[in-house]
Amino acid sequence: MSLMADDIIQFSSVLRIAYNLLAGRDYLKRKKFREKKKLISVALPFSDLIYGFPDLVPVFPIRMHAFKIHKYLTYLSLGSDIFGWKRVSKFLSFVKNLGISEASRIIEEIIGDVIDTVNDKYNEMYDLGIESGIPNDFCYGIKSLYGMHVSKGKNVEATLNYTIRCSAWNKYLESLKTIENPAKQVWIDIPPRNIGNALELLTENIYDAIRELEKISGNNYDKNILRNHFQVANEIRKYYKTILYEISTSDFYPCNPATFSEILVILNNSFQDYNSNAIRYRDNMLSLVNEMKERIRNKIGMDVSKMPRILVTPMFGGWEPKSHEIIYELGGRALYADWDMLLLLEEIPISKFSDPVEAYAQFLLNATKTGIGCDNDTLTDSYIRLAKQLNAEGLVFIQLFGCHSISNCYAMLKEKIRRDLEIPSIALTFNKIGENVEQVKTRLGAFMEMFK
């Protein structure tokens, strides 16, 4: 199956999200130098607080790099500048008339390209992280993030640091101070357990961080701005969940399953900072949902009813991106939903709290208590919950080298899978992108046999 140029027009939101992910550098330069905004480095989906300050721009640091953007994506974006994304079709015919052969390239190739480009950069940053002193023992994500800060940290005013149960993570955040001319650090300590008045303490910790951010921004915190942002953030979460639970579990996909998995990868990446513009991201997510539904209604896409749903997790700290392609070739469809496993796609409960900061504290504490969990018993329950919600028929667990927190619990998880889910599962070890593709192929080959 291939999606030809005209299909792309009906599916342009994903390209917009991809483009905004890759073209962050120019966007951020404009924000920083022309509009005099300040960039704040964020990682994991913890950018929301920054949106309470219009003068601050959250950025997941890889987005400060220059990426090789596929020519076609650039044309599309140029077209959108001239005609608006909705009328980009005019631009496409214009491009076709000029005889540019890429005009008929299929969408999956473009998306595939985006993933490859981002992953090449991740690998480059991984090497830089090691070169700059991060011991090899650490997870892929930490090594690359350190590299990103070594190369681009000078552009940010501060890093927003949340402590989580992963000690490597907390220590990595401290280690950013060892980089030359380090950015200021703003810390938010999330209490490890929800006991006593932990919610109140977390609320105060967030307020302390807000005071710091006020100093950086030069403007006072305005609770209405934050509340409005949380509304946007909740809409984003709602659309993300629609894609995860309505569309990914359905029998007909708006594109081929490998491309669908890649869209999930793009969402996983871009959700961390909403591509530095939450409203634009929300609008794109809404279009994405609508476009997907529209395509399904018009039977554009692929019948996937015979393809087993394989949950691949955890992947946010690093995984082999060829996995979904391999699973697809072997007759399955790979689903990625780490953020929901950690309960970071839950609604920020602004309707229950008059103070948006308290609502956010509640959101964080809930994710800590029930999603990430203060031990592996809770964490493995999260994997099981997610697998159930996605109706997963198989689970591929990524055992990430150097991760002692989220991806070290396969032994416990396997037991629960056997007891509660009765679906096949497999653990794949991962160290660096591209290092072990052959082994992944072989192991997934054996695994997918179980579905025949």
């Binding site: 002193g133 991060i134 011991p135 023992d137 650490f138 640091n161 402590t163 149960r165 992963c166 000690s167 490597a168 907390n170 220590k171 990595y172 955040l173 401290e174 280690s175 101070k177 060892t178 650090q185 810390w187 300590d189 209490p191 490890p192 357990r193 006991i195 006593g196 008045n197 932990a198 303490l201 105060e204 910790n205 302390d208 203060c374 031990d375 592996n376 018993d377 055992q399 080298f401 150097g402 991760c403 002692h404 927190s405 070290n408 619990c409 396969y410 032994a411 416990m412």
Partner: protein, 378 residues
């Protein structure tokens, strides 16, 4: 006294305590667990300080991947490996799951879950500010309640105060031991043994201190003097022997079972009958700035502390200390800063060996070579 003797003596000691009706509460050996509370509840705190060979380490792989720190792995191996020289662990009644690091959480949880030892919880914040102190208090109260439930009655403040005083005295003696000039392996054994027996070992410590004070203090051993920082050397480990075989002598242990533990003394003047004793433990947590759990200033504090140890020693003896930073492979806390710790100390003229290893026997030769090369440089 070798490790086996210590273990068998300790085994007898624990059995006696159990016969007296005391409960034994285990936890992985890092700082910040308030053992005074356990003591005041009338229970025996058992600090897990047994790790150092590959049998124990490898016996954990059914539970955690091999890319877990060798200490956490070994702590699990203590329970899964049979037959075992650690049968006294069968006497454990409870195990504390705590978050010194995430491997501490995972290993403790596994020990509790798979080896059927009821679990207690004690978690601490990563940063240190007013709110993390308040949170620490919540955890202290929670732990106190968990212990009270077990013993079936409240822990009187008076008892807690007495326990604090007792542990204070114990730590002071340990600090004195750590500052004595003696063979590192001997010092390590004394400290390891003391940490098992707790304040019941105070008299022995005092006797040792007395004996050593009578000897001429310095230059007894013609060796290259070292401070050991980073990860501890636990019972069963051969590392200190390798250091001594290479001509080194560890004169100061700046680790969890060394200075991290013994320096956590509460000022006696503060121990006042009118004050809530929990606040004293909070104060101690607050003052424990050299511990590796906290962020974001661990590296700065650690560097300044080692510098001070180095200069004090130079002033006292005229000798320059070398630093061995012991990094148990995959230790999140010690490993990540190791290159920076080394660079920054070397810039100040202090020689540092970052010694990363797990407990495999196969590494022994390579470790010796590295230690010998470092000794040459000193």
């Amino acid at each position: 006294m070798d490790d086996l003797e210590i273990l068998s003596e300790y085994s007898l000691y624990l059995k006696e305590k159990k016969e007296e009706g005391k409960k034994v509460i285990g936890f992985i050996a890092h700082d910040n667990i308030p053992e005074e509370l356990i003591d005041a509840a009338g229970f025996i705190p058992l600090r897990m300080i047994f790790a150092g060979n590959d049998d124990l380490m490898n016996a954990s792989h059914d539970y955690l991947p091999p890319s877990t720190c060798a200490f956490a792995q070994s702590s699990i191996g203590l329970f899964s490996l049979k037959p075992s020289q650690f049968n006294f662990l069968d006497l454990l009644d409870y195990f504390i799951v705590s978050n010194h690091c995430v491997s501490d959480i995972c290993a403790s949880e596994i020990i509790s879950k798979y080896f059927n030892i009821p679990r207690l919880n004690f978690y601490i914040s990563y940063t240190k500010n007013d709110n993390s102190l308040k949170y620490f208090k919540l955890e202290l109260i929670d732990l106190k309640q968990q212990l009270e439930k077990i013993r079936g009655s409240e822990i009187p403040s008076k008892d807690l105060r007495e326990s604090i005083l007792k542990y204070n005295k114990f730590k002071k003696r340990l600090l004195e031991i750590n500052n004595l000039y003696m063979k590192g392996s001997k010092k390590l054994k004394i400290i390891q043994k003391a940490l098992l027996f707790g304040p019941d070992f105070i008299q022995d410590l005092e006797q040792i201190i007395q004996e050593y004070k009578e000897k001429s203090p310095i230059n007894q051993i013609n060796s290259k003097d070292l401070v050991l920082t980073g990860c501890s050397i636990f019972i069963n480990d051969y590392l200190i022997d390798l250091i001594e075989e290479a001509g080194g002598n560890v004169v100061f242990l700046d680790t969890w079972i060394g200075n991290h533990y013994s320096s956590q003394i509460i000022d006696d003047k503060l121990i006042d009958a009118k004050k809530d004793p929990l606040n004293l433990i909070i104060k101690r947590f607050h003052d424990n700035i050299y511990g590796d759990h906290s962020v974001p200033n661990y590296l700065e504090f650690k560097i300044s502390q080692i510098e001070k140890i180095y200069h004090d020693y130079k002033l006292k003896t005229g000798k320059k200390l070398g630093v061995i930073n012991h990094i148990i492979k995959f230790c999140d806390h010690i490993s990540i800063m190791s290159a920076h710790l080394k660079n920054q100390l070397q810039e100040k003229g202090i020689r540092v060996l970052n010694l990363e290893r797990d407990y495999s026997r196969a590494n022994r030769g390579q470790l010796s070579t590295r230690i010998e090369a470092f000794m040459e440089m000193l």
